[in-house]
Symmetry: C2
Subunit: 117 residues, 2 copies
């Protein structure tokens, strides 16, 4: 998804590219609530594999949406949280969330057309 030729044509395009990963908005949502550890996130998104979770977190980290805090201790502890940029992204997302909630029923009905069997 995202960029077509030279990145990017417009702002929405750029933003969607950042949050377009299959689990990213869910991660944003979880982290907005409170910082989480790797294992906590895995438990909250039960269907995600470790590899993909790690991958998406790193992409969000590269985009400075998520901060990764490593505690030098045994057993290891790593905590993920939203940066200021991440928080601002979440705020920019809120009208979209409201729109989605308002039309959720309709969108679930049209879901089959977007994801044919």
């Amino acid at each position: 998804m995202g960029a077509r030729n030279g990145p990017y044509t417009c702002g929405v395009d750029a933003a969607v590219d950042v949050i377009g990963g299959k689990w990213k908005v869910l991660l944003l949502w979880a982290l907005a609530e409170q910082p989480r550890r790797f294992g906590e996130l895995r438990r909250e998104l039960p269907k995600i594999s470790e590899k993909v979770l790690s991958q998406q977190l790193r992409e969000l980290e590269a985009d400075a949406i998520v901060h990764r805090e490593v505690y030098a201790q045994i057993p290891p502890k790593v905590e993920y949280s939203l940066t200021d940029l991440g928080t601002s992204l979440n705020e920019a997302l809120s009208p979209l969330g409201a729109w989605g909630r308002a039309h959720m029923a309709h969108l679930e009905a049209t879901y089959p057309q977007r994801h044919p069997a």
Copy 2:
């Protein structure tokens, strides 16, 4: 993209699923400006294939984001425009667009991490 298990976990998730197609936000953008014919859209998004353009338009149509008006004449003429729902989606998207524009430079720099060579 989009729904994981049972659609949908939250509103943003649902919305992103609708606009997550590779070209959809660009189409929304173009149609918000003014209604367009098939060929006009193709010329504005030069890298899109006819098949995919048609596909994405039909998905947006199924979601009642886009209206498809067929004129019974020769040569054929079909005009695509935003519905009220589509317009409301575009409005809900505008903070995200502002966010994207504001951080575009940063996002282009981090682009390689999201789309490794």
